[in-house]
Symmetry: C2
Subunit: 137 residues, 2 copies
């Protein structure tokens, strides 16, 4: 028995409007929903990327909350990696640079496959990588 | 142009041996690799779950580092959700309780689909949910 897939991954951000702009317009992710002051969610393939304001999500739900979603919230620079083909990585590099986003690292892994790294506006470390760096298709 | 999929999601932990036990033995994820003091990685479907010690990963790579992986690191309670069918969620609930892991929340979403929530040993909020809560298969 083992989990089949990651359905949701989360990052924490300090400005949801800026997160909406960056992840929606620069990265082009499909917007799912937003709750002012709390979160903005995007679809990414068969999963969902959750961007949370930790000031809001670390507050436990009240006794009469509609849905008792447990509190969470982190601070510091998180990490997330998107899957991309070798061709896509090259296109993403150009696109990010067009938006004046610095490519912080760009290298081939010893066993094959390329990664490029950049930051979201909040310092989270984002990456595009070929799935073969993990032996995945 | 938009990212095709999430290839890596990260959580931060304070004890890698305990993380290895919990994610490997309790959740049954497939172990990929470990670097003592820095990380332990698990495969989950077509993605990878990265468990990092932020004390190690927030240190920038030296000028002669083999691979210039950018620093990152967060503290606080992160969040991750695994995909599961309705049947699997029921089995996971039993399995977690067998391991004396508290089910912190268990509910149906208004538009359909069930989620259960629990914590890893470090306080990260973990969830099993049906993909249909997001309109996904």
């Amino acid at each position: 028995m083992q989990p089949a897939a990651i359905l949701e991954a989360a990052l924490y951000v300090s400005d949801l409007e800026e997160a909406e702009r960056f992840y929606g317009e620069v990265l082009g992710l499909e917007h799912i929903s937003k709750v002012d002051g709390r979160h903005v969610f995007f679809r990414c393939g068969n999963a969902v990327l959750l961007l949370f304001n930790p000031d809001a999500t670390e507050v436990p739900p009240g006794p009469d909350a509609r849905l008792p979603v447990p509190p969470h919230g982190a601070r510091g620079d998180g990490h997330l990696c998107f899957s991309a083909s070798a061709e896509d990585i090259e296109m993403w590099k150009t696109r990010l640079q067009t938006h004046n986003i610095k490519i912080e690292a760009d290298f081939e892994w010893p066993k094959g496959g390329r990664s490029i790294y950049f930051r979201d506006p909040f310092g989270n470390s984002l990456e595009f990588a070929e799935p073969r760096i993990w032996g995945l298709d």
